[in-house]
């Protein structure tokens, strides 16, 4: 009797105070070896809710099982970020962010070309006969993927040809 009451109180504790956000959301018991518990603390309910809405708990679980334990925190963070962006932009999600950043990069590359030309002109005009030092960093070549149509279109072949570094 005594052990039964202690185990039932332990069960109640498992459901409420020590349940991770995932198990609370899914309304299930949070076991000590719950794979979500290290990454979805009970004080961050929205984090799991977003990931669940976009990916689903079982898919997140499968992804976490595929990666090494030391990579799971980064995996969860990237999934949460992707879910957050998708919920903010249900049409383009992270792709919208990528295209926007590529556009920004192309503008900055253009500015860099102008700035270097301006710098060279200043040196020449001063007639210092100074050979312009080579750039400290290699001059960026705009990657092919940045030349894609900034107006996102249906043709995603250009994305699939992207070579991961």
């Amino acid at each position: 009797m005594k052990s039964r009451s202690s185990s039932s109180s332990h069960e109640a504790a498992g459901r409420s105070s020590s349940s991770c956000a995932a198990c609370k959301y899914l309304k299930r018991r949070c076991f000590p070896n719950c794979q979500f518990a290290p990454y979805f603390r009970s004080d961050e309910p929205k984090k799991f809710a977003k990931v669940h809405k976009v990916f689903g708990a079982s898919n997140v679980s499968k992804i976490l099982k595929e990666v090494g334990e030391d990579e799971r925190e980064d995996t969860v963070n990237s999934l949460v970020y992707e879910a957050e962006v998708r919920l903010r932009d249900p049409i383009y999600g992270c792709i919208g962010a990528i295209v926007s950043l590529q556009r920004k990069m192309a503008e900055l590359q253009h500015d860099l070309i102008l700035a270097r030309a301006r710098l060279e002109a200043n040196y020449q005009i001063l007639d210092h006969h100074v050979t312009l030092p080579p750039p400290a960093d290699p001059f960026f070549h705009v990657p092919d993927y940045a030349m894609m149509d900034p107006n996102f279109n249906h043709n995603l072949d250009q994305f699939t040809q992207f070579q991961f570094p």
Partner: protein, 156 residues
Amino acid sequence: MNSSTRCAACRHLRRRCPSDCIFSPYFPSNDSKRFRCIHKIYGASNVGKMLQELPMNRRTEAADSLCYEAYCRLKDPVYGCVGIITILWEQIHNVHCQLARIQAEIAAIRARSTQQNNYHQVEATPNFSPMSTTEQYYDISITNTNWFDLINLLDQ
């Protein structure tokens, strides 16, 4: 409906493909890999819900972007397409630093020119239009130490 007219989603899910199937316009039967990728990462039910919430004229783009993100996640299970975003932010930060250094050099040259009374020559330089952004010292304080700061930076 016979099997040859089922969309890739319904074929994968082994079910009838109704005439108003939410998936069929975006997952044609001749490309089964596309739906398999998206189903593996998001699940058919989540994809269906996401598409349902959008106006019909935006669903193709949404399906395409979901497919690409799913593809990225399969290639890189840890970072997915967020890895690409991080790389782009780092590259942007590097270019900002380069621009700031060049601006500082130009300012130093102008200061020397003023001292040497050559400043008016620099000002009169023809054929150099102002930079596409207003001439200013670039803020190189863009650092990314927190995943979720990326979201705020995207709004800039």
